[in-house]
Symmetry: C2
Subunit: 539 residues, 2 copies
């Protein structure tokens, strides 16, 4: 059986990213001091991760055929590292040495034919198979949370950009390419996908497509869907490839059936993706508002103005304080425009007019196009971006110290937002009060804005009790999920459904569509081996 | 049995639009003179439409239950007028008095429950039902082209805007609303859908949704899909309604399964549509190029610049001459920007820089924002727009005079376009030469442009022989369809698949997706009554 590839060896088996990427001792000390200041009664004892080799990971219950053995890993730590995603509840379970639902094999195909062969074997043997990109799911999407054996299909070796079309600005890319490797291969062509989810470093194109990932752009191409020109998918019923088309009206979109299929309908092996030239003009403004309602109204005005900023991120006061170190009365709204073609001054100027029309103030602007160091103090926007990348590592350190640190995200229409936001925030705070005795903060930011509504992203920070933090979070999550579904939101805007969001998803989707999806699943995956429990199979 | 509503009584049973909208005698004489000049040998004898009451439309083979009888029309002319769409081949068959495949009943539901009741009756009796919006299909989408009885479900009575949300800028609209009625109901709210297909006056929201219609916008919201917030669909398996959401990542999009389902999966009864404020600033430029390649390159540059013009219509020299009365060496490129929020000068200025960078010349600009009569001569753009609306009426007059006048449309990537365009044009011209003895013209314009490719729309004008023009066109159409499919285009960018495009559609769609769609159809429509022959049922 083969060794794991290099990336797998440097990745943390229990937490986010790489061991090398973890907070330094000094950073950790600083973080702990800040939390101690906010929650003086909280027990911040550090619970280090266990030695994974001492956890007694069960022996594999299934053996691959000889023809596939060379692609398979049975290493206990490799399997443990593939047992779940990177949600707070995943990290906590790892820290506690939980070995439930560890896959029996990790298979790493080298070719699409390998994928076909693995699905053939799994179909004939009735072995469930979990397609796996970077494993950054925060919704239980890669966890074989079911009885019996499981195979995890890690696509990381299919990581090449196979073809670049500079005229149409598109590239054919294998699904296992991680964000950095993908961009590295595009850079010599002067092109970029510009899909930068927070997980960018540790997630793959195939994962983005299968989960309808949200990326860089606050408007227009908010999901990876819009950057997708065509896809190639291996299902047990056969291999399909959609045509490269800039647009089509020939029946329901084939790609839209597989975008968001979360490994339940097939394995995405490659896709033609729409690219862009690297931006030459970038202007950012940081603006503040005395009232949150005014900040929301300004965000809406910008979203409805047809200006299409790359960034239109509204932080509420708690988010601004915790993650941008900035005190604001009502909100911090960061607006950015970028272009490879033209200066964006007219665009930003008009957006800032809308800001001032709504009572906002411009705190700082920065012009990265001309190397302008900017005028005013935009530490707030820089601090936020830096914190954004480091957040999951901070989360890990706090999880070790019995803190509950997690996010949830959604979208709703603008007319619904005030009531929605109040209800969801209240549900979170009531649940925190109930399960944590009231020690907690709920923050909100808009990650994406649409003409008809925002995509709010909430953060929860609360002091838990060691040994109970997963259960405490689950209770908070159940409360906020119910509030989201009851108040006309979506159970997920860009984190996918996985296993964790099934109740909310089942409640919100139209039943005839569910029936159609079940039928499609039965046609494509008659043995029901593909990621059981996700989307359409029994919970 | 009820009378047909007023709209149905004023509509032409055999051709486009209304009898009142037909060309005047003077317009017809002018048109005929121009054609005679171009094709001096062509026999321009006028073949007037027959008296529909004298055609011997067969008696209905099926009777509705008493509970539905009040919704049903058995009037022969009403049924004849619903027997087919408005393609050239439909008009010709009407002119020739062809009474094949006339529906036995036209049912006009007044409520969604009526739709449910009709589907229940059709399911229990095994009677095929053809959902019908405005009947403007040009692909055989509304024609009961199968053996046995058929019911046409005309949605025209469900034509209300039920709710307007001015905050999120959206409205809940019944599917049977025709374009003008829809806009009339939105106007008092200062809002507009701005979906203006050529068929606007004679097509409905439900038809647009079911066929993924292309509309006003050359970029961004090119199809009605992008303007759709949620939909309500009645299928034999039940009624489903998706949630109003500005964006979501919860599994494959439910709406995207029904957008483009062409009445084969369910009947769309209403939808929440995304609206806009009426534009206050509109600027248009008419530009010319000495070479078509340069004009295409400029179109591509504008499509890839992130400027998002509302209009970016490239007419080739033949299209510019025939429909805009303008002689150009390489192409006529009409570019327009519009906004309800801000002046669009920066946008148009940059687009015109791209035009001149590619060797183009600005013929005229017009500023409708300020009531500016414009400088330069933009008769070309005005002439084109006026001709555009009247084209189907002209087509009808020419069809009466043995001319073959029809269009086909597609999309492909920019890298493929030169080869694609040459092959498709050659296929059309070869077919015209073969079936018409060479008397014909093929024109091309871009209706929509994307960063990764254009949507070319071709016109064919050729002299046929009375009695054979349908068969002649069918032969030309088969040749161009084969060329489109063989050269990496889509069989339709926004005219839908219907029955006419089935061979091309079947060739281009991935087989696993077809299997999934068949399964979805079987789940939603177990008796197979919904628009048989469309998308997934036997051809």
């Amino acid at each position: 059986m083969s060794d794991a590839p290099r990336t797998a060896r440097t990745r943390s088996w229990w937490g986010w990213g790489t061991e090398a990427g973890r907070l330094t001792a000094a950073e950790t000390a600083d973080l702990v001091t800040r939390v101690a200041g906010l929650l003086p009664d909280h027990d911040l004892t550090d619970h280090a991760p266990p030695d994974p080799r001492a956890l007694g990971v069960p022996e594999p219950r299934v053996a691959p055929p000889a023809s596939l053995a060379g692609l398979c890993s049975t290493d206990p730590v490799d399997r443990l590292a593939h047992a779940r995603g990177k949600a707070f509840r995943d990290v906590v379970r790892n820290l506690q040495g939980d070995t439930a639902h560890v896959p029996d094999l990790v298979v790493r195909p080298r070719t699409e034919q390998d994928v076909v062969d693995v699905l053939d074997w799994c179909t004939s043997s009735g072995t469930p198979v979990v397609p796996y990109g970077g494993g950054s799911s925060v919704v239980g999407g890669v966890e074989p949370r079911f009885e019996g054996p499981a195979v995890t299909l890690d696509m990381a070796r299919l990581d090449r950009v196979l073809e670049v079309d500079p005229v149409s600005r598109a590239a054919r890319v294998q699904a296992g390419a991680y964000g950095p490797a993908l961009e590295d291969q595009l850079r010599p062509h002067g092109l970029t996908l510009r899909h930068f989810p927070q997980s960018f470093e540790f997630s793959t194109l195939g994962g983005w497509l299968a989960t309808r990932a949200g990326g860089h752009f606050a408007t227009l191409a908010t999901h990876i869907d819009d950057l997708t020109e065509s896809m190639r998918v291996v299902s047990p019923a056969g291999v399909g490839e959609s045509r490269r088309l800039p647009g089509s009206g020939a029946g329901p979109s084939p790609d839209r059936m597989f975008l968001g299929s979360e490994g339940a309908l097939g394995v995405i092996t490659e896709a033609w993706m729409r690219l862009q030239q690297r931006p030459a003009w970038q202007r950012t403004a940081t603006t503040t508002f005395a009232s949150y309602d005014a900040a929301v109204a300004a965000s809406r005005a910008i979203a409805q103005a047809g200006l299409y900023p790359a960034n239109c991120r509204l932080l509420d006061p708690a988010e601004a304080m915790i993650n941008a170190g900035t005190a604001v009365g009502g909100g911090l709204l960061i607006i950015a425009f970028e272009s490879a073609d033209h200066p964006v001054d007219a665009w930003l100027d008009r957006a800032l007019e809308l800001v001032t029309d709504h009572g906002g103030e411009v705190l700082a602007t920065r012009d990265r196009s001309a190397g302008d160091p900017g005028h005013g103090d935009d530490d707030a926007s820089r601090a936020w971006r830096s914190a954004f990348i480091r957040m999951p590592y901070q989360r890990d350190e706090l999880a070790r110290r019995s803190m509950i640190v997690e996010t949830f995200e959604t979208a709703c229409t603008w007319d619904a937002f005030p009531t929605f936001h109040a209800a969801v925030t209240a549900a979170a705070q009531e649940a925190i009060a109930k399960v944590c005795g009231g020690q907690g903060v709920v923050t909100c930011r808009f990650t994406h804005v649409y003409p008809d509504g925002p995509a709010p992203y909430y953060g929860v920070y609360a002091g838990g009790r060691w040994g109970s933090t997963r259960a405490q979070w689950d209770e908070i999550k159940a409360a906020v999920s119910a509030a989201i579904v009851d108040h006309d939101g979506t159970i997920t805007h860009h984190h996918a459904v996985g296993r964790d969001h099934r109740p909310g998803y089942d409640a919100q989707r139209p039943e005839p569509f569910a029936a159609a999806l079940r039928a499609a699943k039965a046609a494509l995956d008659p043995a029901g081996i593909l990621n059981p429990g996700v989307l359409v199979s029994p919970r």
